[in-house]
Amino acid sequence: MRHYVKIKTVQELLERIEEPGARILCGGTDLVVKMRSGAIDPQVLLDISDTENLRGIEEKDDRVTIGAATTVTEIIADPVIAGKLPLLETVLRTLGSTQIRNRATLGGNLVNASPAADSAIPLLLYQAEVNISGVRGDRVIGIEDFLVSPGKTALTSDEFVRSVSIPLSQIAFKPFFHKVGRRKAMIIAIASLGALVSMKDAKIDEIRLAVGSVAPRPIRLRELESELTGKAVTQSLIEEAKGAATNAVSPIDDVRASADYRREVIGELVARVLRNAVQG
């Protein structure tokens, strides 16, 4: 017999989080599916969808902080997000469907820790930090250290994600995002790539590249980023970058696509980022 608890305060959550078989429930768009398929068997469901102080978007001290239980729909509709973090809005519009976005939350998408997690791409690019609370105290860690491997995050059993915080003072980047899948909606990415590029004197001043579904977790392509910085975008640079990107990822064969195909796709998407950066 499963036990459902509507959690009202963060204090209450901290008191119950270590109960045997406890799982945090919010939108349910991943958890309920896994529960019904038998992949997980939680004994206590701690519902944080109406918990005080876990929902909402706040702009303060040049950072925007998004509560873990904020729905994807609420994030997309926020004028600060759309105005200052356009790639976050663009990417979240492609997450699931209208019905899923109305329930799914940013915290949920992160703790689910799918290698294909859409929200991770803009958060990696914008260098977000994850605010964690736990029985033994609070801590803040960068998004790159938070995501570990499929289904695994840096959270320990007494901890939960309180919010995600993103610096707003990002330089004027040209954003790029492309997700490859069989249709436009409701896809789990075969491969995805997001980028932020700024050009100066016809050279790449700064470039950030993040990829999904081609490694055990969504990752930045740091080496390739530094190789490209300071270079002019030429045909030979594009070819070089394509090859480097193909080798920088470690995809697997699965039901959605082969590893080889995923490598090809990432190479092509990096080429598109570079071509796009020098166009208009």
Binding site: H3, G28, V32, T98
Partner: protein
């Protein structure tokens, strides 16, 4: 556990299992069988209902989660014997084939038109992207949504 919520404007108090789905609460406990179960994984949209005005797949919501909320199912649209303009539009434009997906499409359309009385093709496709029709009647569904929007605007004037 006991929950209190409103369904189609009616206050309801109901005993539910802790891990019961909203879909089962609606269909089995309340006998509102207009809402359909398709995939049971949130992919197809056949079980779409509105919670506090937002379209959701009721197969992914647990019944205890609607405690204190306002739920609208397809049965709540038509006030009496007369069809709601969205239902009329689906019938008149031939947007119904086997009909299994129709309640879900109608609820997604209702959620869209409540906030956007004159949507573009693109806006309609985005609002309906979580609903699948295996008879593939999408062109007529698109026509029906435009027509429903027109009927609803006429009604308001």
């Amino acid at each position: 556990m006991k929950i209190r919520f409103t369904v189609n404007g009616r206050a309801v108090e109901q005993d539910v299992r802790d891990d019961e789905r909203l879909l089962d609460l609606i269909r089995d406990d309340l006998q509102l069988t207009g809402t359909k179960e398709g995939c049971g994984e949130g992919e197809c949209g056949a079980c779409t209902v509105l919670i506090d005005g937002k379209a959701v797949t009721s197969c992914l919501v647990l019944a205890p989660q609607v405690d204190g909320k306002d739920v609208l199912t397809v049965e709540g649209l038509a006030p009496g014997e007369e069809l709601h303009p969205i239902q009329r539009a689906f019938v008149e434009k031939g947007a119904v084939q086997c009909g299994f997906c129709t309640p879900g499409f109608i609820m997604s359309t209702y959620a869209l038109l409540s906030v956007n009385p004159d949507p573009s093709d693109e806006e309609i496709l985005a609002a309906l992207e979580g609903n699948l029709c295996r008879c593939t009647g999408y062109v007529k569904i698109l026509e029906a949504v435009h027509y429903a929007a027109e009927l609803m605007r006429q009604e308001r004037n």
